[in-house]
């Protein structure tokens, strides 16, 4: 646990900048340098990839950037709606994965026999790439929407499950002893000892999974034609050779992924502080 205990009291923004510039300047410079190199290589014709500035110079991308909320019906929607559709699928699959993963993880973590029975299977299934699940999902569900959710689920569940199980196994013998001596009820043990103790592990699993789920949905949507979603948006742009659109969508995807990860980190810090 690190606490930076510098509290600017009477100083104002100038002092704040003084304290934090070492944290802020390097990443800004890094990003700027990268964009500059990219733009230069595009301008000099070293690559056919449009430079970052093209996002603003090209009408299509400028429109997409400026009007994320437009909706012309069908698949022709603004980036916000595209993202929201993808996020919706992620949310459903992810919640399902979290519930199943944590539940099964606790069971496996507490019971050695269950663990021996299923661990090889889990290790095997988790190595299967998300994309490989897509055809199977389509065969099982016959429809795009549930198939996409299934792909999210099957991708996201393993890290949650395995980490939760590990977290439960890692509960110090001491805590078990305390529970034994106090003759704690199962419920109390579960709520007061098991969950809090395993929580850091569960969150590690959840954070890994949210990233994976977001990766998986893009891949799944690219394959599942004809649905609203940021993945299909890229596929569509590629078909029509709108390279700038693709660049824009990639930036967008990265941004959303980063936000999701931060969100989970924030949640973790709220729910299990100080661990």
């Amino acid at each position: 646990m690190t606490i930076t205990a510098s509290t600017p009291s009477s100083s104002g923004p100038l002092l704040w900048w003084k304290h934090h510039r070492k944290l802020i300047l390097p990443p800004l410079l890094g990003i700027f340098g990268f964009l500059l190199a990219w733009q230069l290589s595009a301008s000099l014709g070293l690559t056919r990839l449009p430079g970052p500035l093209s996002l603003f110079t090209e009408t299509r991308t400028r429109e997409l950037l400026l009007y994320p909320f437009y909706d012309r019906g069908g698949l022709d929607k603004g980036l916000f709606w595209q993202t929201l559709a993808s996020l919706g699928r992620v949310a459903q699959g992810y919640v399902l994965a979290a519930v199943v993963g944590i539940g099964a993880g606790i069971a496996v973590g507490l019971n050695k026999t269950l663990n021996r029975a299923f661990d090889p299977l889990f290790q095997f299934l988790r190595m299967v790439a998300p994309l490989a699940w897509v055809p199977i999902a389509l065969v099982i569900f016959q429809k795009n929407q549930p198939a996409a959710i299934f792909v999210i689920f099957i991708t996201a569940v393993w890290p949650i499950l395995i980490n939760t199980a590990e977290g439960v196994r890692q509960i110090p013998q001491d805590y078990h002893n305390v529970a034994l001596v106090l003759q704690m009820s199962k419920k109390t043990f579960f709520l007061k000892v098991l969950i809090p103790s395993a929580l850091p592990y569960i969150f590690t699993g959840l954070r890994i999974s949210i990233g994976l789920a977001w990766l998986a949905i893009i891949a799944a949507e690219i394959v599942m034609s004809g649905i609203v979603g940021i993945g299909f948006f890229i596929w569509d742009a590629y078909q029509q050779n709108y390279v700038s659109d693709i660049v824009l969508a990639v930036v967008w995807i990265g941004g959303v992924g980063l936000l999701l990860d931060r969100l989970m980190a924030w949640l973790q810090s709220r729910i299990s502080p100080g661990q």
Partner: protein, 665 residues
Amino acid sequence: MTALVEVQNIEKDFPLTGGGHYLALKGIDLEIRKGEFISLIGHSGCGKSTLLNMIAGLDLPTGGTVLLEGETVKRPGPDKMVVFQNYSLLPWLTVRQNIALAVDEVMPDLGRSEKDAVIDEHLEMVGLGQAGTKLPAQLSGGMRQRVAIARALAIKPKLLLLDEPFGALDALTRGNLQEKLMQICNEHALTAVMVTHDVDEAVLLSDRIVMLTNGPGSKIGGILEVDIPRPRQRLTVVHHPSYYSLRSEIIYFLNRQKRVKQWQARPHKVLARHGLEKVNLDLGFIPLAACAPLAVAEAKGFFAKHGLDDVQLVRETSWRGVLDGLVDRTLDAAMMPSGMPTWMTAGGHGGEPLPIVTALTISRNGNEVTLARRLAEQGVTTVEDYRAWLGSHEREPHRIGIVHPASMHNLLLRYWLAANGIDPDRDVHLQTLPPAQMLADLKDGSIDGYCIGEPWNFRAARSGHGVPIVGDLEIWSGHPGKVLGAREDWAQAYPNTHIALTKALLEACRYCADPAHWPEMGELLSDRRYLGINADLIRFSGQPGESGAFAPHGEPHHLFFGAGLNRPSRSEHLWILTQLARWAEIPFPRNYVEILERVCSVGVFSTAARELGLEDVSYQRQGIELFDGRPFNPEDPIAYLNDVSVHRDFSIAEIPIGQPRAMAV
């Protein structure tokens, strides 16, 4: 007082992962009274935590039972709360919440405000009233353990179990917590069992200290009663005479365990040579001037001369060490106080009677009684003065140090006190202390005096802390002091070795008796292998009458050799038996004739003397008469015993000692 916990013949066997099994504990019996504080001490791996876990119900014994208030302990529960070494607080809960969790669980029927009151009370108790809202991570190790103690006490357990509670703390932080725990235990009359490896902690906190031997098959090696009054304080307990003697007793025990382990790890071969069954011997002694014959036999080559090529002198710090060395056979033979052979043969050491033989009296005299200087300053210079002084200082405890209950110091001191109208148990308290500590205790005034052999009387006089009040010449001139002792089964197995050893030592005794050799012997004994003190502090004998016709105090009169001096005397050992019985150390053996016959290896001595051409020292009939002139008739010891006015309740009993057998080689 009733037993709260009864541990009955506990055994614990662990299956090993690679097959086989490990017997951790065997035959443990222990009763814990209500309100007692018990410590379990031993080296790591001795099973002390296992024992605690079985009392807690966290682990079940493979044999025997643990009863709590008469009911078998089958599972853990809040009535026997455990404080673990690593605190085991839940790090995501605050201090209050940690305690509340236990209180909620164990006392669900209390109202919220009552629960809060319980929590507050116990937080205050451990001095953490301010820290309730903190998380464990924000606290120091010592504070965390306080929280754990508060949590344990808040649920009002019948029994508090502490598993090395301060083991993870540094030695100094530990001290503060020990005092706190002690204070809480006192105020709330708690019953507690604590596992520890810290000797000072055990002495400070406990009513009784249970010492466990090394595994496998650890058992209780001894239980010490800590007779230091409560309330205790870390700084004042060290001035109580029991403190350092208990401390040395435990350290002795732990060292002994370590040595036995090392001894067992060494290969032990019996080397037979020169017609002797065994020429490699370990001989025990303790550093006193009277050990001169052993040192001389080693230095002057008498052992080798008689074929004992490989004799190791093993320096023990107390007679306890000699005793244990013979019991567990890590010693072949030893110099021992003259009372020890009969005492051990009669089972005085608390175990089965262990027949011991003695073929040689190594030294006579050499003991004195020293009183603290502060007494002399108040005019106490004679025993009459002392009796009067005791009468006027009744309220204070009066302790006199002795080195061992079976030593001649104890028996002579008791005889002398009793004959002078001082009851050695009621008017004063005789306490077994290590010699070095006696001097320190004399200095800081926690004992009145002591009775011991040289060099300790001379040292006290030299340093000005004590004044000799009576020498053994005035109690029983020529009493046996130290003797050679060995197990009877050892002597049976190695008869020729026994004779050779007796010869070597008898020759050394003759050497030591020559005053011309004393300066050289002083130099020899000053070596750290023996006494390790300045040669000028080592005196063998002063000139008789040097400091006045009557009282040659301050000078020993060691006799090492001479007519009738070295031959083991049955009547002397019989006198010793009467005295041991008089003070209830042992019952007086009805079969005393058999015991004396077995203890005194007169035949071995006679052979040795004859082979050395020293038949003339062999035997000289002399009666036993002490300073008070009361005659001792060896024909009727029981009448002698019945005749003394001051004695304890003694009994007369047959002591079965079995048939003589040779040790399995």
